[in-house]
């Protein structure tokens, strides 16, 4: 019995391995019917494998009994003996299985008590279904197990076993053919190779239509080759037995033609390439051709509209292909215990009324006391800018305004023509006799909308509203009447014939004479007090560019500039004899020393002054008061005396590097201080106390130290084109006038940039002059006005100079766009002499 035990144990192992899924099948939920089926299928397959193994191992042991049994079994059933054996084993080891069954039931009870479901009910339900299935599908297979019914003491167990014996393919009849081999078609023949073994022999297949060999009725075996290879040969190929097939007799073309015309079936025949003869096509073949021509399916039996058989789709045909062979876990089809517990809790709560379903949540009241008395605004933040309120309506908006508020026709037209955004008022004022006549306002919605847009789209900026009196912006300055005396009005006018433009004016240091240089080329000297012309000299060399009295009081020297020449004049007849003598001595000493009428510039060693000649005028001229001529290159434009009256500097145009020259009258010498000029020099000026020299170019003023021959500083004027410069008599302040209407005040101790830039003239400034002694300065401009300023310069360096505008002097007429050209203060008195383009020179007195 040992071998039997062995098989039994092995089969038991098999059964125990099977039992679990079977057990689980019993509890399957309704949705897992298919799964269950699949599981069954798996199980059965597994079983087969095991059976093969078992068969392999136990063949010799079960030779007689099993073989006999096998003979009894039906042929279709492959290995029914193992099934029965398993059943036997199950029966024998029923105790063990029962135990598991009991356990299962216990489990069921437990789960049932907890989950609230009765699993047995479910099982019963599915059990019925299973039974049905069994009866319908599995009956032919399950029936052979004769021992089944005898052993069916336990209903469930038998069902389970029945399920196990299901062949998956049988449930789906379509697979029957495929599984033919498994069904045991064929005979078992004792094997020749294995002793005592068997082999299965199958019948030969009968090749039917459709199989490849069935169409092989062609006797020619040459295959698919070009038949022209046999063209030269008497045969056309070989038959199966290797004999030649001779070319059939072929008629000539005429025969062919005749056969075509005579034979009615000729057109239904085709040339057989291999046999080289025409073959009559059968009706079937012709039908195929016809179908192909019509683009139909060549198969006549083919039904394109046959009903669809849903093999894999539709209800009940789903095929589940498991990705893993793992058995379906229990949680997939058992309702969750915890969920159920939770639900039961809720149900209980609802029953007890603790929970009201669909009750609206307790919301906050729509309004409540949001503000209290203790609220504090924390809106002192710099970025907090509340939206500005709309301004209150004005009377103009009234439905019944005073009549003057209504717009006139022109105003109405203007209102309509201006853009909507630019209008001062956004409505047309109207007057209605009574309130009932007032129409609805059309733009109300639009206005509200625009206000809303403003509120969230308009950037807000904090604008400081200046609530100051505009007058407070004007600087506090002493009143002009406190700062008297200063020139106020014209007292004397010096009229020039033909109104020739007076370019330059100068007053003598003793304050008695006024010299003017006009464009007619005549230097005139006038009596300051009464305006009488007392002396004149025609230089006959074009317009007088500039003239200037020497500031030295003991002499009466006047330098006038014309094109290419500097003339040193002296109205000797007018002055006292001592002064005249001083003057002549000063001017003529050099002639005496050189004993020549003509003297070439003393600075011969200085390169580039060779062309400058000091010329002694003739006797006649000398008697009239012309002392020296200095011939210089270019046209000298300005002369500037040194304080002591010996040196004077000239600026000439068109003289390249010799435009700035410094002359010494006592020695009749000329120096050119600059080898190269920094730009177009406008004006030059001597410092009153130091050996310094100021050169004004177009934009800058450079201060040079003449003794050490160095540049002290460069003043940046900030103007575009300097027209005039003057230095304060104390030498630490400087004013410039510019053609771009500006006057700049430099404090030389303070900075290289202007302390103040004033712009009050409407046209270019022509001249700016400090009073030599009084705290006054004046500026003249092309707008025909002269501005008088007071300027106090304090000793304290920390205190800024006080500049007070005092007076605007009007009187000069503007001629050809030129107004006042030159100014000169009368020394010691608050009087001003001005020359204009209208040919007038005026003396302005306080």
């Amino acid at each position: 019995m040992a071998p039997r035990n062995a098989t039994a144990s092995s089969s038991r192992a098999a059964s125990s391995s099977i039992s679990r899924p079977v057990k689980s099948n019993g509890n399957a939920g309704p949705s897992t019917i298919r799964n269950k089926k699949r599981a069954v299928q798996e199980v059965s397959e597994d079983e087969d494998d095991e059976d093969f193994g078992a068969a392999g191992s136990g063949i010799d042991m079960s030779d007689d009994e099993d073989a006999e049994e096998e003979e009894d079994e039906e042929d279709e059933e492959e290995f029914p003996e193992f099934d029965s054996e398993i059943e036997d084993d199950n029966e024998k080891d029923g105790d063990g299985d029962d135990e598991t069954e009991e356990e299962e039931e216990l489990d069921d009870e437990e789960s049932g008590s907890e989950s609230g479901y009765n699993s047995s009910d479910i099982e019963a339900m599915y059990g019925e279904v299973d039974e049905d299935d069994d009866q319908e599908d599995y009956s032919p297979i399950t029936s052979p197990s004769s021992s089944h019914k005898e052993l069916s003491t336990d209903e469930k167990l038998s069902k389970m076993i029945a399920k196990n014996s299901i062949k998956p393919d049988d449930s789906l009849g379509t697979d029957a053919k495929i599984s033919r081999a498994k069904e045991g078609v064929g005979r078992l023949v004792p094997s020749k190779l294995v002793e005592g073994g068997y082999k299965r022999e199958y019948d030969d297949y009968e090749a039917g239509y459709g199989s490849e060999s069935s169409t092989e009725d062609n006797p020619n075996t040459v295959g698919n080759i070009p038949m022209e290879w046999y063209d030269d040969l008497p045969h056309i190929g070989y038959d199966v037995n290797g004999r030649k097939i001779f070319r059939p007799a072929q008629g000539d073309e005429l025969d062919k033609f005749l056969s075509n015309t005579e034979d009615p079936a000729a057109w239904t025949s085709a040339e057989d390439r291999l046999l080289q003869q025409s073959v009559q096509l059968t009706d079937k073949e012709l039908d195929i051709i016809r179908r192909l021509e019509r683009a139909e399916n060549p198969d006549a039996d083919y039904d394109p509209y046959q009903p669809t058989i849903e093999w894999f789709t539709g209800e009940g045909n789903e095929r589940v292909m498991p990705l893993s062979a793992a058995p379906e876990p229990k949680r997939r089809f058992v309702p969750s215990k915890w969920e159920h517990k939770k639900i039961m809790k809720i149900v209980k709560a609802i029953r007890e009324g603790r929970i009201t379903p669909n009750k609206p949540s307790a919301a906050k009241p729509t309004v409540y006391a949001i503000w209290s008395e203790s609220d504090q605004s924390n809106l002192q933040h710099a970025m907090y800018m509340p939206a500005p309120q709309l301004p209150p309506p004005k009377t103009i908006e009234s439905y019944n305004p005073p009549e003057e508020y209504l717009l006139t026709e022109e105003e109405k037209k203007e209102w309509e023509e201006t853009d909507k955004e630019d209008r001062k008022i956004d409505f047309l004022p109207a007057k209605y006799d009574s309130l009932r006549l007032v129409p609805g306002y059309k733009n109300l919605v639009q206005e509200r909308f625009e206000r809303c847009l403003d509120l969230y789209l308009a950037p807000r900026t904090r604008k400081v509203k200046l609530n100051i009196d505009p007058e407070s912006l004007i600087p506090k300055l002493p009143a002009p009447k406190e700062l008297k005396p200063f020139p106020i009005s014209t007292s004397v006018a010096y009229r020039h014939p033909e109104s020739s433009i007076v370019r330059s004016v100068s007053t003598s240091p003793d304050g008695l004479w006024v010299a003017t240089g006009s464009e007619d080329g005549i230097v005139r000297v006038w009596d300051l007090g009464n305006g009488r012309e007392v002396w004149k000299w025609d230089l006959k060399n074009g317009a007088i560019q500039h003239l200037s009295f020497s500031p030295y009081k003991d002499e009466c020297l006047l330098i006038a500039l014309v094109s290419g020449k500097i003339a040193v004049l002296s109205p000797v007849a007018l002055v006292s004899p001592s002064v005249a003598a001083n003057t002549l001595t000063h001017a003529n000493t050099a002639f005496a020393s050189s004993a020549a009428t003509t003297k070439i510039g003393a600075g011969k060693d200085i390169k580039g002054v060779e062309s400058i000649k000091w010329v002694r005028p003739n006797e006649n001229e000398r008697e009239r008061g012309v002392l020296v001529y200095v011939e210089v290159p270019g046209t000298p434009k300005q002369v500037s005396w040194h304080r002591k009256g010996d040196y004077f500097a000239t600026v000439a145009s068109d003289a390249s590097n010799k435009s700035v020259l410094i002359h010494q009258l006592s020695k009749h010498s000329t120096q050119s201080p600059f080898k190269k000029l920094p730009g177009q020099v406008q004006k030059v000026i001597f410092h009153p106390s130091k050996p310094h020299f100021f050169v004004a170019t177009q934009r800058y003023i450079r201060q040079y130290d003449l003794s050490s021959q160095t540049l002290v500083r460069t003043l940046q004027s900030g103007v575009k084109w300097i027209s005039s410069v003057d230095l304060h008599p104390r030498g630490d302040n400087l004013i410039i006038g510019s053609y771009d209407k500006k006057l700049a005040w430099f404090d030389l101790d303070l900075s290289n940039k202007p302390y103040k830039t004033l712009r009050y003239h409407t046209k270019a400034l022509r001249s700016v002059v400090y009073h030599p002694t009084l705290p006054l300065f004046a500026s003249a401009s092309d707008d025909g006005t002269i501005h008088i300023f007071h300027c106090t310069i304090y000793q304290d360096l920390m205190q800024n100079p006080l500049i007070v505008p005092l007076k605007i002097l009007r009187g000069h007429k503007i001629t050809d766009g030129i107004g006042v050209l030159d100014l000169s203060w009368v020394s010691g008195k608050p009087w001003l002499v001005s020359s204009g383009a209208d040919g007038e020179v005026r003396l302005w007195c306080s």
Partner: protein
């Protein structure tokens, strides 16, 4: 070594973000951002240097303050927006799938964004809320007048919103009537402006002005984006309802006041609300402090208006000390036994009965109201919405054409009528009673002047005197002649009572004569008394004017005559002065001082001068037009 400063890490580049950056940061759509900005009150800023703020780019951009956006980041509304977005998606999905039950469930659990916290955040104190109440009232009123059946493509305002708006505005008016806080009214071209004085936090009173359009169908332009307006409206509705709650609670009233549906359907506007007083003592006690404040505020108002007799104030001052009187001031319900929460069961007081009930509590203030002694009958063509509100707020009683189609009540004192009516018809309707027939403007003018003015010139069919704005703002013209006319009218009316009406006729030729004589008068300046002359030389000087008035009184010159004299004198002097100033060249000196101004100051000065000149020119233009009109009128009168 100092820390290296990198570009874009401080200053304007850090302080400002563009709108697109903000959108990216907040991860919301532009429309959501717009809504958020509106609700949170965030607005763009103008950086001083745009290029620097835009990190070197000069492309046009809208800038926001960086911290504003930072605050938006943790705004609870943002979460609500996101919730709503996902809700909308779910709902659309459910509807698309035809899952109606699910859709209904979703709809029931719809996320609702509440704006309470925004109200408190934007207006930390009640006073601030009141100060910003103008725009909300304007907009809410506008919406209350929109058509309730939405015009497709134009307005898609739900009718419920419109109904709520009209409810809010009515509640506001009911409150104003109850507290008699209306101060000013102005009938404009755009609509009617009202101004109320509302007690804010700590009793400081805030003036709230709002505009109501006339009762016509609103013209809705096509380019108005109602989504923006509705977003604003959401906030404003919340703000107003909270404000009203506070105001009603201060008055010890239940908010919201229940609406009497019957009256409402009859067409009553403000009268349809029933004011219910609060019953619970707890509420009273908690609001005890605020009561004091309210009373203080009321006293403040009285002091400012100045037409309250002093002894009443004294009484109130005495009361202010002890608490028991305080309790009395709070309108305590008669039966305080049961706590009546239900509004329906509480005793209702309609507005008609309110005047009577509240008279015992606040009788002192009521009696001093402008229209307390009068009963007005509103003719049917007048807007009851406006005049009922105004008259009731000023303490008057009202009978509308709704109650009785023709005035028949004996208590009527005034009939407001806005159409021409014959004297015979008037007498016939009066039927022996003495009524004052007036046009609506009379009411407005009375309110603005805080006194009952003569009805002369306001009778039906008469040409009305001009209606002036009660807010004398900048650029308003002085109109002393109007005062004169008014005074003349009053005196005329007084004299009319006992004399004939030839006074006005006498006045007119006098004026003409004075006009003719003017030339002579100008030459003979010495004919004016010295004080008058001095006053005319310096018309702004009040003390001189006073002296001149005294002098005139001594001389026995009437006030109107004195005014005429003064005017002429001023005119004569100004003519002289203008010639003098040209000669004297006073301006020349100032011109010179201006030379010394710095560039910056000079520009500022020029700007100020420019605006002053503009204003002066405007004034002058008005004056010129007025004179021309007067001249023309005189000529017409003469012809």
């Amino acid at each position: 070594m100092a820390k290296i400063k990198r570009k874009g890490e401080s200053g304007a580049a850090k302080n400002y973000v563009t709108r697109n950056q903000a959108l990216k940061k907040l991860q919301i759509s532009l429309s959501d951002f717009r809504r958020l900005c509106i609700l949170k009150g965030i607005y763009p800023r103008e950086p001083l240097n745009k290029k620097r703020a835009n990190k070197g780019s000069s492309a046009p951009a809208t800038f926001y303050y960086h911290k504003d956006i930072q605050y938006l980041l943790h705004e609870p509304l943002l979460v609500k927006f996101r919730e709503h977005k996902s809700f909308a998606k779910k709902l659309a999905r459910a509807l698309g799938r035809g899952e109606w039950a699910l859709a209904k469930n979703l709809e029931d659990a719809k996320p609702v964004a509440r704006l309470d916290h925004l109200v408190k955040e934007r207006y930390p104190t009640f006073t601030l809320a009141l100060q910003d109440l103008q725009d909300p009232l304007n907009l809410v009123h506008l919406f209350s007048t929109l058509p309730t059946n939405p015009i497709p493509g134009k307005t898609l305002v739900p009718s419920s919103v419109i109904a709520e708006c009209s409810r809010l505005i009515s509640e506001w008016k009911v409150w104003a009537i109850r507290t008699n806080s209306l101060r000013k009214i102005f009938l404009g071209v755009k609509g009617i402006y009202y101004e109320c004085e509302v007690p804010g936090q700590g009793g400081e009173s805030v003036k709230v002005r709002w505009l109501e359009g006339y009762e016509f169908q609103q013209h809705v332009p096509t380019d108005v984006d109602f989504r923006i307006l509705l977003t604003f409206l959401d906030l404003y509705r919340t703000l107003i309802s909270f404000t009203l709650f506070k105001l009603y609670t201060e008055e010890n009233l239940v908010y919201p006041p229940p609406l009497d549906v019957e009256l409402d359907e009859k067409g009553e506007s403000v009268g349809a609300f029933r004011l219910v007083e609060k019953k619970d003592n707890l509420g009273v006690e908690s609001s005890k402090v605020s009561k004091k404040a309210v009373r203080k505020a009321i006293r403040g108002i009285k002091a400012s208006t100045g037409d309250v007799d002093a002894d009443v104030e004294m009484d109130e001052d005495e009361q202010a000390g002890n608490e028991e009187d305080d309790e009395e001031f709070v309108e305590r319900p008669t039966k305080s036994g049961e706590e009546v929460e239900d509004v329906a069961t509480a005793p209702l007081t309609t507005y008609n009965s309110l005047l009577a009930t509240s008279s015992n509590a606040a009788s002192t203030s009521k009696q001093n109201l402008l229209f307390s002694p009068y009963t007005f009958y509103l003719s049917r063509e007048t807007s009851s919405r406006t005049w009922e509100f105004v008259i009731r707020a000023m303490g008057g009683k009202i009978i509308t054409s709704l109650n009785s189609p023709t005035p028949s009540d004996d208590s009527i004192t005034h009939v407001i009528i806005d159409r021409p009516i014959t004297v015979e018809r008037m007498r016939e309707m009066e039927n022996g009673r003495k009524w004052t027939w007036i046009q609506p403007q009379w009411v407005a003018d009375c309110v603005n002047r805080q006194k009952i003015i003569s009805s002369e010139g306001y009778h039906p069919g008469q040409l009305l005197p001009p209606h002036l704005s009660p807010w004398d703002g900048e650029g308003e013209l002085d109109r002393p002649w109007l005062e004169d006319q008014q005074n003349a009218a009053i005196t005329a009316a007084q004299e009319e009572a006992d004399q004939e009406e030839d006074v006005i006729e006498q006045d007119a030729p006098e004026e003409d004569e004075s006009e003719d004589e003017k030339d002579e008068e100008e030459i003979a300046g010495s004919k004016y008394p010295p004080a008058l002359l001095a006053s005319s030389l310096d018309p702004e000087n009040v003390s001189l004017l006073h002296a001149a008035e005294l002098e005139a009184e001594q001389n026995g010159v009437s006030y109107s005559a004195f005014r005429n004299q003064l005017k002429e004198a001023i005119k004569a002097n100004s003519k002289d002065g203008s010639t003098k100033s040209q000669v004297g060249k006073k301006g020349g000196e100032e011109d010179l001082r201006k030379i010394m101004m710095s560039n910056k100051k000079a520009k500022l000065y020029e700007k100020m001068q420019y605006s002053n000149r503009e204003k002066a020119a405007e004034k002058e233009n008005l004056e010129r037009k007025r004179l021309a009109i007067e001249k023309r009128k005189r000529k017409e009168a003469r012809a």
